[in-house]
C-alpha cells in the first residue's frame, strides 16, 4: 500500500511539474518539484525513504524529459538520500540546516544536469548558467523545500501515520 501511495505521489508531482510549474515560476526560474519532493522525504522520513522516492520520481521525470533515462533518477535518488543522511547524521533538522543542505544539493544536481544537458560547457556558459539558473533555482528550491517540510511537519502526525512513515528523529 505504501509503495502504491509513493508511486501515486511521485506521478502527481511529475504531472504538476509538467503542467503547473509555470504558475510557480518566478522571473523564468522554475522550481524543481521532483527535487523538492525527494529532499523533503529525506529530511522528514530518513535516507531510505528519500532514496526510494527520489529514484521513483526521477524515473518518472526522465520519461518525460529529453535527456537520457537515468540522470534524473540518480540525481533525485542521491538528493533524497543525502538529505536524509546529512540532516540525520551531521545535523539536527533545523531551518538553516534544511536551507543549506537543500541549496547545496540543488546546486550539485544542477551542475551535473548542466554538464550532461549542454553539448559544450565553457566558462561563459557556466557563468551564465550559474547566474541565471543554478543559483536562483537553488535558492528557490531550498526555500520551497523548507516551506514544504515545515508544512508537512505542522500537519504531520496524522499524515505521517498514513503515509510518510516515521517523523524526524
Amino acid at each position: 500500500m505504501t509503495i502504491f501511495l509513493d508511486i501515486l505521489l511521485c506521478f502527481g508531482v511529475v504531472l504538476a511539474q509538467a503542467t503547473f510549474s509555470t504558475i510557480l515560476s518566478a522571473k523564468g526560474i522554475y522550481p524543481d518539484l521532483c527535487f523538492i519532493l525527494a529532499c523533503v522525504m529525506g529530511f522528514h522520513s530518513g535516507e531510505y525513504k528519500g532514496l526510494r522516492i527520489g529514484l521513483t520520481v526521477g524515473l518518472f521525470q526522465d520519461l518525460f524529459s529529453p535527456g537520457g533515462i537515468g540522470l534524473n533518477m540518480i540525481l533525485k535518488g542521491l538528493a533524497g538520500a543525502l538529505a536524509g543522511v546529512t540532516t540525520h547524521t551531521f545535523s539536527t533538522v533545523t531551518s538553516p540546516a534544511i536551507l543549506l543542505v537543500s541549496f547545496a544539493l540543488s546546486l550539485g544536481c544542477g551542475l551535473a544536469s548542466l554538464v550532461v544537458a549542454y553539448p559544450v560547457v565553457d566558462a561563459p556558459i557556466l557563468f551564465h548558467a550559474l547566474s541565471s539558473g543554478l543559483l536562483p533555482q537553488g535558492l528557490y528550491n531550498s526555500l520551497l523545500t523548507l516551506g514544504t517540510f515545515w508544512v508537512i511537519k505542522c500537519i504531520g502526525p496524522s499524515l505521517s501515520m498514513v503515509h510518510l512513515g516515521r517523523g524526524p528523529r
Partner: protein, 293 residues
C-alpha cells in the same frame, strides 16, 4: 342589604327610567334636524380630537411596521435575486471564457489543418500537454506518441514555421526539443543569398546561425528557411529572421542571431512531419541555354 344598593345609591326603578330616557335620546338623535347633529358634533369634536391622537399613533406604528415588513420581504427577495443573478453572471462568464478558449483552440487547429491540407508533407496534428519537466532542456510534451506513428528525429512545425524535433517517444506522448535548445541543430539557409549554415539554440535561449560564409551579404531582417539537407525538415520552411550578424577578426565564419518566427512560449498545437518528398534535383528549373555561336 341588596347588592345594587351597595354599588349604586340609585334605586332600580330610577335606573330603569334613566335607561329608557337614554334609549329615547338615542332614538331622538336619529330624528333630530341636521343643525342639531352638527351642534352635537361640535360638542363631541374635542373628544374626537383627543381620540385621534392614539388612533394616529397606532395607525402610524401599524404603517411603519407594514412598511418595514414589506421592505424587508422585498429586500430579502432582492438579495436572493441578486445572489442568483451574481451566480448566473459567474456561470455565464465561465461559459463564455470556456467557449472563447475553445474557439481560439479551434481557430488554431483550423489554421493548422488548413496548412496541413495545402502542404505536400504528411503531417500529424498534436496538442501540447506539458512543458519543461526538466529545467535543463527547453522542451514540450505533445499528446501523440508511437501508437500514432511518431518516431524520434521527426520534425515539428506550425503553420508559421519550425518548432523543433521529437527526441523521446512514449506510447501516447512524445517529448519535443525546441529549436531554442542547444541540443537541436538543423541546417538553414538565408532565403535571399542562398547561403547555408547551421541553426542551433544557445543556453541563453536565443537561436544562432553558425558557419555563414565570410563573404555572404547577409543582413539584419533577411529571412532564414530550412535548407532541406537534413532528413527531418523539407526545404523552405520558415525559421525566423536574422536579427544581427557578427564576425570577430579571428573568426572564419559569420554568426547570425535569429529572431524565431514561432513564439515558443505561446505554442498550443503543432504538426509533426511524418513524411515528405524531398525535392528531386531534376524538378529544379533548368537555366536557359544560350545558343552556341
Amino acid at each position: 342589604m341588596p347588592r345594587s344598593e351597595t354599588n349604586f345609591p340609585i334605586s332600580t326603578s330610577i335606573r330603569r327610567v334613566l335607561g329608557v330616557i337614554f334609549i329615547l335620546f338615542l332614538a331622538l338623535l336619529l330624528f333630530l334636524p341636521r343643525q342639531s347633529q352638527e351642534w352635537l358634533s361640535h360638542v363631541g369634536g374635542p373628544f374626537a380630537r383627543i381620540l385621534e391622537v392614539p388612533l394616529h399613533v397606532v395607525a402610524s406604528i401599524q404603517d411603519s411596521i407594514r412598511h418595514a415588513w414589506d421592505h424587508y420581504i422585498a429586500l430579502q427577495n432582492v438579495w436572493e435575486e441578486n445572489q442568483q443573478l451574481k451566480q448566473e453572471v459567474q456561470r455565464l462568464q465561465g461559459e463564455q471564457n470556456f467557449l472563447r478558449e475553445h474557439a481560439i483552440i479551434a481557430m488554431q487547429f483550423q489554421q493548422l489543418l488548413a496548412y496541413q491540407e495545402t502542404t505536400p508533407m504528411t503531417t500529424l496534428p498534436a496538442r501540447i500537454i506539458g512543458r519543461n519537466v526538466s529545467n535543463w532542456y527547453r522542451a514540450i510534451i505533445i499528446n501523440k506518441g508511437n501508437q500514432d506513428g511518431i518516431h524520434p528525429e521527426m520534425g515539428v512545425i506550425t503553420d508559421a514555421g519550425v518548432v523543433g524535433r521529437v527526441v523521446r517517444v512514449n506510447p501516447t506522448t512524445a517529448v519535443v526539443l525546441l529549436l531554442s535548445d542547444p541540443n537541436v541543430a538543423i541546417t538553414g539557409m538565408i532565403q535571399k543569398s542562398r547561403d547555408e549554415g547551421l541553426v542551433q539554440g544557445t543556453p541563453q535561449g536565443t537561436i544562432h546561425m553558425k558557419y555563414l560564409p565570410p563573404l555572404s551579404p547577409v543582413q539584419a531582417g533577411d529571412p532564414v528557411v530550412t535548407s532541406g539537407l537534413t532528413d527531418d525538415f523539407p526545404r523552405g520552411l520558415q525559421i525566423g529572421r536574422i536579427q544581427q550578424v557578427t564576425k570577430a577578426d579571428t573568426d572564419l565564419f559569420q554568426l547570425g542571431e535569429i529572431d524565431p518566427i514561432v513564439e515558443f512560449s505561446k505554442l498550443e498545437a503543432v504538426l509533426v512531419i511524418t513524411s515528405f518528398q524531398p525535392d528531386p534535383p531534376s524538378s529544379l528549373p533548368k537555366p536557359p541555354v544560350s545558343p552556341s555561336p
